[in-house]
Symmetry: C2
């Protein structure tokens, strides 16, 4: 039998139907197994489909539905698919087999351990940005690039490809535009709002956008969102910077290097944050924001993200090589990452620490202030060429005179107003079993504890540390307060603490209390 | 505020509700965003949950539903989740946060490029087999192990871990138990049913189970399923082998190395089939089946899975090292992989070729017969120690005397009866534009063409080649017949052929026909 060229039902429009199913970001569509199109086209569960609605196109994974949860002649959409296509109920859409995604052969080449050229990397990033990759395929890309398997040329290509997709800011009136970034892994290390306030009070242009947390209990964007509006449009962002010299916004909605967000979602699911991806993620955002001079803070410590000086040097070298290839000026500084900075972990608790430093309160955590001043000094010395001691002194004067606090409020006002820090619904004290001296704290497990309590999706969730390394601790003395928005999360986090009491290491270990008093 | 230990709602039973949504294998559960448990526990889209129903436990990913598609107090299940838990409508189930999956830290270690020890690999495989990994996490594992990044010790550990989970066959009465496996990548290379028939007719024990296709248009199991029942229980399989000395079954339902099937599903989605995984996949099935002597057929050719002699030697060496560590006897033979074997591609078309060889029909593809005889001869020489020429002669006599055909029918009868090969609903001829001599065919693109037509999920879909390399071809002469079960798939595959006409390379290229006659 011969078939006619145009007998295919696949272009026959279907009616859009909102399923009311939230699937996080992966777009899903639903069709009835008994529908003519599924049968004629051989669509089955997990088939990748291309949906066209007006001028918009989406590639989504099919789930087939057997029962009457979908009216005949309709195609159902998950919430994210619905939003991406900006659909209205009943709107006509057409369904096709997803086109071949040519860059997938480059992906497989990378998975097999080969080096990719600029064109191949660009094609992968372009196709990811167009939502042509499934979650499984993005996971393959992330995993294949981890463990130092992206070389500096590949990382450069990745950075440029990511920076060139989405929005871009340009600052023709400014020769030098500044930014700072912390590699993370150190809970509570929330210096950015302080550093940005000091630097912009000193006259630097610093268009700072931050990610939300990847694997940590709070990113700077999560912390700033407790204090003000961080989801700015590109226009609004530009106005805030023009008015104040700076901003403290979330990267998400501004659309600077938006592909990064698609990658980060899968990195988060895998709890991974690899070198090449990290450099590309950081520098692509800065490039797209129009920055030219970037300070990279690299905390080094046994339980920080960078565990050794050597590991930090390898990363710093990759930053330098890639930055040079892209015409950016980068300074990497290695800082102490042996313990948490400040006393709060989690968005709201970290916001409290930031405010107390900016307000020069006597209870402000001294370590957070010292760290912020050091970084602000580094930025000022990059800008003015002053020696580091002079620049540090200038930063200190700006903070202690209250200029930084005035500047911080100006930025928050420009972004939509300064908010009160909220208080968590539930909390308990985490107490020591023993008396002794606090020898160390495990940053990773502290971060995990705060995440189990609900941070960062519940901004009030997290920890407030009540002790510092070196402190003497009595038996039953509170080591930290644990905050959560739900009793379930609080209990879940507490259970983890009880199984991981050694995350606070006391020395010398004296005999534990009788079991009944624990 | 302090909360009581037992105030949590998370153990409160919910009623199971079958959503009627097919999601392929990834288990999904659905809960209403407005339900008390979601709110109290902080469950959101993509949260991993542990569901208990009677004595069964499942880890599944949550999708939240906003509308009335789920009755209050209910938790919805995708089809695969429903089946895994063997639920009945309204059955009480309990929902918890998924427990920490400890082996995920070993997974990240592997992704970061480190070597895993036996315990770490065993823990990953055990957790995958318990359905504790999401698709994204399995994709990370597959990708991290590809590209030669599993060393031989890791591959040995992986093989043993996979073989030890699930069912196992033991053959205490037989000192030597045989098997054969083809590395694949060569469409139509369906020698197994012929080789197994010859070898078992000669008295060898050969408990052959086959995978379905991973990245090809048909696996041996897909082809055999056209001819007989291949989904046997372990008991039935044992009986078939005891009666006939062999079987030609699918690996799936027998439960030999079942974790392999969970990995293969994601390898298929990524269109990947890497070295270490491949060796572990093959040898774990053979070990679990109780085999001791295994012949590995390695077709080498520019468009086969193994593209060079060197690549084949590396793989053969890995097979030998791992087999030795596991106490198995492996012989690897490299065969010609420059063109397809037989004339059919796709389950039904390959089955036709197999039958014609076994029946000694004059139209039987000579290349398929020669290949099958060569491999059967190798197996017989492994068994008897006879030299290869003698063993080949023995294999030829068994085939040409009709003993192999009798044995094949006996195996099919024991498995449930021999079936007629079905005929596809739709077909078209793929014709040459030019006259010329056929210089080469691209195996990979031929395989892709058959897959676009619907193979292997539609067993009738695929190709029948009408020409061989070296043949002279007239303009408009059919090069192949394309079969499909739906007009959509037929048109889709034809479109690909028109964009990829050079997959049949003709030489010398004479001038094309005028456009109107194409």
């Amino acid at each position: 039998m011969n078939i006619q060229e145009d007998c295919m039902s696949r272009a026959m429009p279907q009616h859009a139907y909102k399923m009311g199913i939230a699937t996080h970001q992966e777009p899903l569509v639903y069709m009835r197994t008994d529908c003519a199109i599924c049968r004629a086209e051989g669509y089955t569960a997990n088939t990748r489909l291309q949906i066209k609605a007006g001028s918009r196109t989406l590639i989504a994974t099919l789930n087939t539905v057997a029962k009457e949860i979908l009216p005949p002649g309709s195609i159902g959409f998950s919430d994210s698919a619905w939003e991406f296509l900006a659909l209205t109920q009943g709107q006509a859409v057409t369904v096709h087999h997803a086109p071949q995604v040519h860059s997938l052969s480059a992906l497989r080449k990378k998975i097999y351990g080969h080096t990719l050229d600029t064109g191949e990397i660009t094609s992968i990033i372009r196709d990811i940005s167009r939502h042509l990759y499934s979650d499984i395929e993005i996971a393959g890309f992330i995993s294949a690039c981890a463990g130092g398997r992206l070389n500096s040329a590949e990382t450069t290509a990745l950075t440029r490809a990511m920076a060139q997709i989405g929005n871009q800011l340009h600052w023709p009136e400014h020769e030098r535009v500044f930014d700072k970034h912390c590699i993370g892994g150190l809970p509570g290390n929330r210096t950015t709002p302080i550093v940005v306030s000091i630097a912009s009070a000193a006259g630097l242009i610093i268009p700072k956008t931050s990610s939300r947390a990847i694997t940590s209990p709070a990113g700077t964007a999560d912390t700033m969102e407790v204090l003000t509006n961080v989801d700015l449009s590109l226009d609004r962002l530009r106005k805030v910077i023009t008015r104040t010299g700076a901003c403290l916004a979330a990267g998400g909605k501004v659309g600077l290097s938006p592909t990064d967000d698609l990658l980060i979602r899968i990195e988060r699911a895998l709890d991974l944050d690899s070198e090449g991806q990290l450099v590309a993620s950081v520098l692509s955002k800065k490039m797209a924001a129009g920055s030219t001079h970037i300070l990279i803070d690299m905390p080094v410590g046994p339980t920080a993200k960078l565990r050794s000086q050597k590991q930090a040097e390898v990363l710093a070298e990759l930053f330098r090589v890639v930055a040079e290839a892209l015409g950016l000026n980068v300074r990497c500084v290695m800082t102490d990452g042996t313990q948490t900075i400040g006393n709060g972990i989690g968005p709201a608790e970290e916001a409290r620490d930031v405010l107390s430093v900016l307000r020069n309160e006597s209870t402000a955590p001294a370590d957070l202030e010292a760290r912020a001043l050091y970084l602000a000094g580094q930025l000022l010395s990059m800008a003015t060429g002053a020696d580091e001691a002079q620049a540090l002194q200038q930063a200190r004067e700006i903070l202690h005179s209250g200029q930084a606090w005035i500047q911080f409020r100006a930025i928050c006002e420009a972004q939509g107003g300064l908010r009160e820090v909220p208080i968590a619904s539930h909390h308990i004290e985490l107490r020591s079993e023993y008396a002794g001296k606090l020898r160390s704290m495990d940053n990773r497990r502290l971060a995990h504890l705060a995440k189990l309590a609900g941070a960062p999706s519940s901004p009030e969730a997290g920890l407030r540390l009540r002790v510092k390394v070196g402190d003497s601790v009595e038996a039953l003395q509170p080591l930290a307060t644990l905050y959560a928005e739900t009793p379930g999360e609080l209990a879940y986090a507490r259970e983890y603490f009880h199984e991981n009491r050694d995350l606070f290491e006391l020395s010398p270990a004296t005999s534990p209390l009788p079991a009944t008093e624990k």
